[in-house]
C-alpha cells in the first residue's frame, strides 16, 4: 500500500526508531541506565513568533532514565513502538483505540506480557504520544489516527481530490452533496483542493457544529461563495489539519465564530490558530495562523444588545476556566505577543467582567428572521469587525 505523506519531512521513522533502540540496548549491555529524551510539550517550553504564527518548542526535554519508577513506561514504550513500526512497514492504518485493543489482545494471549496491560485507553494513548514526541514525528505519520470528530464541511464551490491507498484518486464535488457534509478524516493535508469556479470568498469555522448545520439548512452556503465548517468544540487533529490545508491551498480569508467566553478563546480559537502546548511538535501542520476571531466580540454584545449572563463562580468548570484565562494572560506566549494584543484584551475583558455570551445569542436579535446570524456574520466580515 502507498504511504501518504503529510509534510515534506526528512525523518525516516524506522531508522530513527532503530537508532533509539540501539542506544538503549547498547546502554543495557554496558549495565548503564538508558535515558529516553523527548521534547517537553508544555507551556513553559512554548514559544510564539508572530511571523511563524504557531507555538513552537523550546530546548527543554523530558528525560526518562531507566529505574524502578520508569521501567514500566520504558518497556511499554518499546513494546508499543515495535507494534507501530511493524504496522508502519506494512503501511497499515489504525486508530488509537484499535491499537489499544490490539495490545490488549496480545497481552491477554501471552501471560508473560501481563505486566504491560493497560487499564484504559488513555494509558496506551499516552504511550503513543510519548513515542511521537521522542521521535518528533506526527502520530498521523505513524499511521495512527484518532476517532476524530468535527470538521463537517459545506460549500457550493469546493472540489476535493483525494489519493486513495491503492494510488487511485477520488474526486468529491461538495456542491453535489446538498446538506450532507463532507467530513475529512485521517490526513486532510494530503487532499488537493480547488474551487469549482473562480475563487472562494472565505471560510467560516463555527464552534458549534449544530449552528454550522443551521446556517447550511438556511442556505448560507448557497447564497454565499464560501466554505462552512463545524469545529465541534476544541478542534481535533483532523479539524486542525483540514483548516491548515484550506488556508494553505486556497489562500482565502478564514474566520472563526464561537462563544464569547474564556474557554472558547483560549482553548478552541487559540488551538485552531496557533496550536497547543501539548502538540508543540506538530503545530506547524496542525494550525491555521491566518484564522481571525469574528465573534462574538465584546462590542457585538453592546451593538446588537445580545443576551449575556454572569459567569457562575461556583460552577467548578467555569471557575477553572476563568483561572486558566488569568494564567494564560500571565504565561501563554500567544496572548503575550503584541500581535495578539486585541485577543488578550478580550480575555482581559472576560476575566474582569466575568460575563459570557453564547454564539446563539444572535438568533434572539430578531427572532422572526431565520437568517439573522448569516446577516450579522456577513455584515461583520464586510465591516472588518473581527480580531
Amino acid at each position: 500500500m502507498a504511504k501518504i505523506r503529510i509534510r515534506d519531512s526528512k525523518i525516516d521513522i524506522t531508522k530513527e526508531a532503530k537508532i533509539l533502540c540501539e542506544s538503549i540496548l547498547s546502554d543495557l549491555e554496558k549495565a548503564k541506565r538508558p535515558v529516553l529524551e523527548a521534547v517537553k510539550c508544555s507551556l513553559d517550553n512554548s514559544f510564539y513568533n508572530s511571523k511563524v504564527g504557531f507555538l513552537t518548542a523550546g530546548d527543554k526535554v523530558v528525560k526518562t532514565e531507566l529505574n524502578v519508577s520508569s521501567v514500566q513506561k520504558m518497556t511499554r514504550t518499546i513494546f508499543m513502538l515495535e507494534i507501530l513500526l511493524e504496522k508502519l512497514v506494512g503501511a497499515a492504518t489504525h486508530t488509537k483505540r484499535e491499537y489499544y485493543y490490539i495490545v490488549k489482545g496480545m497481552i491477554k494471549k501471552n501471560p508473560e506480557l501481563k505486566a504491560l496491560d493497560f487499564d484504559d485507553q488513555p494509558e496506551s494513548d499516552a504511550i503513543i504520544d510519548f513515542i511521537c514526541d521522542m521521535l518528533e514525528v506526527y502520530r498521523e505519520e505513524m499511521n495512527c489516527f484518532a476517532n476524530d470528530r468535527g470538521g463537517q464541511t459545506y460549500s457550493k464551490n469546493l472540489v476535493v481530490t483525494e489519493t486513495m491507498s491503492d494510488g487511485s484518486t477520488a474526486v468529491v464535488d461538495l456542491s453535489s452533496l446538498g446538506t450532507t457534509p463532507f467530513q475529512p478524516k485521517n490526513k486532510p493535508q494530503q487532499f488537493k483542493l480547488k474551487p469549482k469556479k473562480g475563487k472562494i470568498d472565505f471560510c467560516l469555522v463555527i464552534e458549534s457544529e449544530g449552528t454550522a448545520n443551521t446556517l447550511v439548512a438556511n442556505g448560507m452556503h448557497i447564497r454565499h461563495n464560501c466554505i462552512i465548517l463545524g469545529a465541534q468544540g476544541v478542534p481535533s487533529n483532523g479539524v486542525r489539519g483540514w483548516c491548515k490545508t484550506i488556508q494553505d491551498q486556497l489562500k482565502i480569508p478564514m474566520y472563526f465564530y464561537g462563544d464569547l467566553d474564556a474557554y472558547t478563546l483560549q482553548n478552541i480559537f487559540r488551538t485552531l490558530k496557533a496550536g497547543s502546548a501539548a502538540s508543540l511538535i506538530r503545530n506547524a501542520d496542525f494550525s491555521a495562523p491566518d484564522v481571525r476571531f469574528l465573534g462574538v466580540l465584546p462590542e457585538d454584545v453592546k451593538k446588537l444588545d445580545l443576551n449575556y449572563y454572569d459567569v457562575n463562580d461556583r460552577d467548578v468548570a467555569e471557575a477553572r476556566s476563568l483561572k486558566k484565562a488569568k494564567d494564560a494572560l500571565e504565561n501563554d506566549p500567544f496572548f503575550q505577543d503584541k500581535k495578539n494584543k486585541k485577543l488578550a484584551d478580550i480575555l482581559h475583558w472576560l476575566v474582569r467582567e466575568k460575563k459570557r455570551c453564547e454564539q446563539q445569542a444572535v438568533f434572539s436579535v430578531d427572532p422572526k428572521d431565520p437568517l439573522i446570524l448569516e446577516k450579522v456574520i456577513i455584515d461583520k466580515i464586510k465591516r472588518g469587525s473581527y480580531v
Partner: protein, 602 residues
C-alpha cells in the same frame, strides 16, 4: 374525678423494663448477662479479689412469648459471696445498692439492673433468679430462688436450701428467661464479652455460648484495680434542688459545716468569699433546718459565682496503657495497635479519664475495607452496645478528620477499614441518656477530650498507614524491574534484530542494574532490621508484649496532648522500618539471581 394512686418502684420498672435494657428478646439476654457480670466484677474489685468468671448460655426450649426461646443464663464468680439475708435485697429490690450516689467509678450505680433482670425472668418464665452464694465464713453455700414482690418492691426468698459447694466463696446466678441469643454484631453477646475482656485485663473468663466450644481467656494482669476512694460532690455540678436534697442528708449542723463537710473544694477561704458575695455571716452559722428556701437559693447562687478549684481527679480509675496493650492482644493477633491513656481531667466539672485503643486485627484485615470500623464504647469499663449514633463517643469519632490520618471516611460518619476502636470513658459521674446506660450524654468538654485522645491515637495510626504505603510502593517498584526488564530486552532485540549474544549481554547488564537497586535496598533492610530489633527488645522488656506493640505513653505526650517529637520520631521510624523490611523481604523473594558482581559485593 379518678382516684390518685401511688406505685412502688418495682411496679414502675416492671411496667417499663424497656427503659432499663429489656426492650427486645435479644436485648433481654444481653442485659441480663451484662448486669450479672457487672455485679460480679464490682464485687470482686471491692474485695480485692482477682475475678474468675464462668458463663454458660444455652437455649433450653421454646419461650412462653411468641418468637422467643427459653434461654438459660448462668454466671458464676469467685467473689466474696453474699450473706443470705442480703440476697433478697440485691436480687429482688430496686434501688437497693451499696454504690448509689457514692461518687465512685464503679460499674453499677443505682441498684436497678439485676433486679430488673429478676423481674424479666419472673414476668416471662414465672420464676425469678436462682442464686447460690457462699462467703468465706460459711461452710456450706446457700441456694435459693429470689422473686421480686412487685407491689412492695422487696425480694422474696423461695426454696432456700444449703448445699455443698467446692468454692471457698463466690456467687452463681441462673436466670431462665424468654429471649433470643444473638452472638455477633453491635448487640451481640460475643461483642460484649470481648469488650469486657478488653477493658478488664485482670479478668479470667471462661464462656460457653450455646453449642460453641467453651473459650477460656486468662487474665493478663495480676493486679486488682485499686478502686479510688469516693469523692464528695463539687458544688458546681449540682442543681439547686440537688443542693437542698444534699443538705437534707446532713441533719442538724450549721451551714458552714455542711458546705465544708458535704462538698469537695469548699474550705474556710470559700466561706469568706461567700460573705464577700453578700451571704450574711449569721446565715453561715445557722442550723440547716432553720434555713429557708430563699436563703438556700442565695447561698447556691453565691457559690456558683465563686471560682472554685476543679474537683479532684483521684476518684477516676484507668485501665492503663500497659494493661490495655496486653489486653488488646488477648482478643486476637494484631498487626498494628496504639493505646492512649489521657491524664484525668475535668469535663463539665466532673473528673473524667479517657482511654483509646486502636487496633487492626489480622483476622479483620481480609474483610471489606469499605465497612465502618468496629467501634467499642465503654463507660466505667462496661461495654455500651446500643444507640451508638446518639453517644458522645460516636460524636467524637465522627468529628475527627480521619482522612488526614490516611483512612477513608464518609462525610459525618465513622471511618471505614478493618480497625477496632475501643474508647473508654471512666468517671464517677457519667451522665447517661437513659436508665439502661446505653449511651453517654456528653457535653462539649467531654466530646473534645475524647476527640483529643482519638487524635493522638490517630497520629500514630497515620504514621503506620503512610509507612505501609511506602513499603508497598517499594515492593511494587522492585517487582516492576523484575516484571518489565526481560520484556524490555526482548522487544529491543526484536526491533533491532539483535543477535542472541547481544540479548544475553543486555540481560546481564539489566541484572546488574537490578542488583544495584536490590543491594542498596538490602543494606537499608539490614539496618532497619537491626534497629527494629532494638526497639522490640526495649518494648518486650517494658510491656512483655509481642512485636508490633506500639503504645503511645502519657509521659511521651506533652501538655497540649500531642506526643513529644522524640516519641513520635521513634515510633514512626521503627514502624516504617518494620514495614519496609517486610516489603523488601517479600519483594526480593521472587527476584532473579543477583548479578555476579552484586554477589561478590555481598
Amino acid at each position: 374525678m379518678s382516684k390518685i394512686t401511688s406505685s412502688s418502684t418495682a411496679e414502675y420498672f416492671a411496667k417499663n423494663l424497656q427503659q432499663v435494657g429489656f426492650s427486645s428478646p435479644s436485648k433481654a439476654v444481653l442485659t441480663t448477662l451484662k448486669e450479672a457480670v457487672d455485679n460480679s466484677l464490682d464485687a470482686c474489685e471491692e474485695s480485692g479479689i482477682l475475678p474468675e468468671i464462668l458463663i454458660d448460655i444455652q437455649k433450653t426450649g421454646a419461650g412462653a412469648s411468641r418468637n422467643t426461646d427459653l434461654v438459660s443464663i448462668i454466671v458464676e464468680d469467685n467473689g466474696p459471696g453474699l450473706d443470705p439475708e442480703d440476697l433478697p435485697k440485691v436480687f429482688g429490690e430496686y434501688l437497693a445498692s451499696s454504690k448509689f450516689g457514692r461518687g465512685r467509678a464503679s460499674r453499677g450505680q443505682q441498684g436497678i439492673g439485676i433486679s430488673a433482670a429478676t423481674t424479666w425472668a419472673q414476668l416471662t418464665n414465672a420464676s425469678g433468679v436462682r442464686v447460690t452464694s457462699k462467703t468465706k465464713n460459711m461452710r456450706k453455700a446457700v441456694s435459693a430462688i429470689i422473686d421480686v414482690d412487685i407491689k412492695q418492691n422487696r425480694g422474696i426468698l423461695k426454696k432456700k436450701e444449703t448445699i455443698d459447694w467446692d468454692k471457698p466463696h463466690g456467687t452463681r446466678v441462673e436466670f431462665r428467661i424468654d429471649g433470643r441469643i444473638v452472638l455477633n454484631g453491635d448487640g451481640g453477646l460475643l461483642t460484649y464479652l470481648e469488650g469486657t475482656t478488653l477493658v478488664n485485663p485482670h479478668l479470667s473468663i471462661t464462656y460457653k455460648l450455646m453449642d460453641q466450644e467453651a473459650r477460656a481467656i486468662p487474665r493478663v494482669s495480676n493486679e486488682v484495680p485499686e478502686i479510688p476512694a469516693a469523692t464528695l460532690p463539687h458544688p458546681h455540678t449540682m442543681k439547686l434542688g440537688e443542693f437542698m436534697t444534699h443538705a437534707g442528708l446532713f441533719g442538724k449542723i450549721t451551714l458552714s459545716n455542711f458546705l465544708i463537710k458535704g462538698f469537695s473544694r469548699v474550705n474556710e477561704a470559700t466561706l469568706k468569699e461567700l460573705v464577700k458575695k453578700g451571704v450574711a455571716k449569721g446565715l453561715l452559722t445557722k442550723n440547716l433546718s432553720a434555713i429557708s428556701e430563699v436563703e438556700y437559693k442565695k447561698v447556691y447562687q453565691a457559690l456558683h459565682e465563686i471560682e472554685l478549684v476543679a474537683p479532684s481527679t483521684r476518684s477516676v480509675l484507668t485501665v492503663g496503657e500497659e494493661a490495655l496493650s496486653k489486653s488488646v492482644q488477648r482478643l486476637g493477633e494484631t498487626d498494628f495497635f496504639s493505646v492512649v491513656t489521657r491524664k484525668p481531667t475535668i469535663c463539665d466539672f466532673k473528673p473524667v479519664v479517657v482511654e483509646v485503643a486502636i487496633a487492626r486485627f489480622t483476622h479483620l484485615t481480609s474483610e471489606a475495607n469499605d465497612a465502618p470500623i468496629q467501634l467499642l464504647r465503654f463507660a466505667n469499663r462496661v461495654p455500651l452496645q446500643f444507640d451508638k449514633g446518639a453517644c458522645a463517643i460516636t460524636k467524637a469519632v465522627e468529628s475527627v478528620n480521619w482522612r488526614s490520618y490516611g483512612l477513608n471516611q464518609p462525610k459525618d460518619s465513622v471511618p471505614t477499614g478493618p480497625f477496632v476502636y475501643a474508647i473508654s470513658v471512666t468517671s464517677p459521674f457519667i451522665k447517661f441518656k437513659n436508665a439502661s446506660k446505653e449511651t453517654i450524654d456528653g457535653g462539649e468538654d467531654l466530646v473534645e477530650e475524647i476527640r483529643r485522645a482519638l487524635m493522638q491515637a490517630g497520629q500514630k495510626l497515620s504514621r503506620h498507614i503512610k509507612a505501609e504505603g511506602k513499603a508497598a510502593d517499594l515492593e511494587r517498584k522492585i517487582s516492576h524491574m523484575e516484571k518489565f526488564g526481560p520484556i524490555l530486552v526482548q522487544y529491543l532485540a526484536k526491533i533491532l534484530g539483535a543477535p542472541k549474544a547481544r540479548t544475553e549481554r543486555a540481560e546481564v547488564g539489566l541484572k546488574k542494574l537490578l542488583g544495584r537497586d536490590a543491594s542498596s535496598a538490602e543494606a537499608e533492610l539490614e539496618q532497619a532490621t537491626s534497629k527494629l530489633q532494638q526497639l522490640k527488645d526495649k518494648q518486650r522488656a517494658k510491656f512483655g508484649g509481642d512485636d508490633g506493640v506500639t503504645p503511645v505513653h502519657q509521659d511521651e505526650v506533652d501538655a497540649a496532648g500531642t506526643p513529644s517529637e522524640a516519641a513520635v520520631e521513634e515510633h514512626e521510624e521503627l514502624a516504617a522500618r518494620d514495614l519496609k523490611a517486610a516489603a523488601l523481604k517479600k519483594g526480593t523473594k521472587k527476584k532473579a539471581d543477583p548479578a555476579p558482581d552484586a554477589r561478590a559485593k555481598k
